[in-house]
Amino acid sequence: MNFVDNAFILICAALVMFMTPGLALFYGGLVRSKNVLATIMQSFIMLGLVSVLWAICGYSLAFGTDIGGLIGGLDFVFLNGVGMDNAGSPAENLPHLTFMIFQCMFAVITPALISGAFAERMKFGGFMVFSALWLLLVYAPLCHWVWGGGWMGEMGALDFAGGAVVHMSSGAAALCCCILIGKRKGHGSTAFIPHNLPMTILGAGILWFGWFGFNAGSALAADGIAANAFVTTHMATAAAALSWLVAEWAHGGKATTLGAASGAVAGLVAITPAAGFVTPMWAIVIGFGAGFICYGGIMLKNKLGYDDALDVVGIHGLGGTFGALATGVFATIGAEGLIAGNAEQLWIQFVSVVATWGFSFVMTFIIFKAVDKTIGLKATDEEQDRGMDIAEHSETGYQW
């Protein structure tokens, strides 16, 4: 066991935990003020729900003894055998508990990400059930496939910190959900303008900050790889914030503050699978690309007309996909991508992209339908008019 790595990963886990309140604010600022609390809640409460589920069986499903490359066994249910030393720890240098809790924070934020797609119209009770099922039936298996000894990792797919596990999976789920739940009342006729952009920028700042824990921590050690992942994360994010502004400026004439924040998140997403595998200069290239591509994806949404309220598909789905493929192209550190002469890696990445989208989309479809039929997921028009805060939580965000 390595105490330096333990210290580093514990702090990184705290940083990743902080991302979820950050996401709550990022999303909360983008909705109308009558929905701010309900939106914040759908991220914040994942800290409660997912963490407890993770301890009960989520962690075991993801990291228990591999069963056919598909799922983890039940060895670690109720954190059985997950202790203060490194016995049984997937990371030998870390106490098993440290590894478990670091992974827990990733599990927390993933279903929270999805909630942006159906913001302003999802009922709270159904949301909780949906999220619990999604965690166990989509996240845990996918996490196992990639990091827990499952087939995708065995195949050689590169996913440094969660391009597939976190971003593509939530992006695909978001697409499925926002089609199934349908549009918000007033979509198309009313302008849904963010009610508090400073809150969104604050959220973006917290996300950027916490993401250092996400990506550098994914080195699972305080070594040079961690340093590289830290730097690539920062540089890609910086580049994407700029390129989003350039896209806006070329397209509509004005660079916006929300654009800078959105670009930053797009960059963070895109570099996530690549962070430890590429050099900082390629990270800048990936970041520049991400800003343009995700901006384009959102334009496309406006054309296609589905109501992905906070652009989860455009940013996490597309950004994660681009990042996964870019990893197959630019990887040169501890792995070899296209530019290192290994074209196969790109093919492997492609397979992992298709599998992730397919699996997440189909499973989400089933779960959504099941919950919708039994408990019900969509708020009525009247509830949407009053606002989800009053309708679902009997609260209002602000009193001046």
């Binding site: 007033g186 006729s189 009313t190 008019d385 009053r386 009053i390 009997s394 609260e395 209002t396």
Partner: protein
Amino acid sequence: MKKIEIITRTFKLDEVKTALSGIGVKGMTVNEVKGFGRQGGHKEVYRGAEYQVDFVPKIKIDVVVEDDFASEVVAAATKAAQTGQVGDGKIFVSPVDEVVRIRTGETGEEAI
């Protein structure tokens, strides 16, 4: 001249504005208000204590128009704002003695 105060649901603002523009209204002034009426309010909860909030967010649109244009404006606003549910709101019409356009100092119907 007449002042027409239209108190209605917040999400009807755009429709009313469009309807009035459509019949030639050139200006209006809008206010966010809270209404108390038959519609009733809602319950709020704060750490286990329940409060009844009687006031519902509404918007108030003030339009000043020539006397003989008033009834047309009232009709258009009524049509645009109506949902048929309790809480659609009210329109009040009251007399205005004088109107001044600050920019030019014009007065009367010229100034509207």
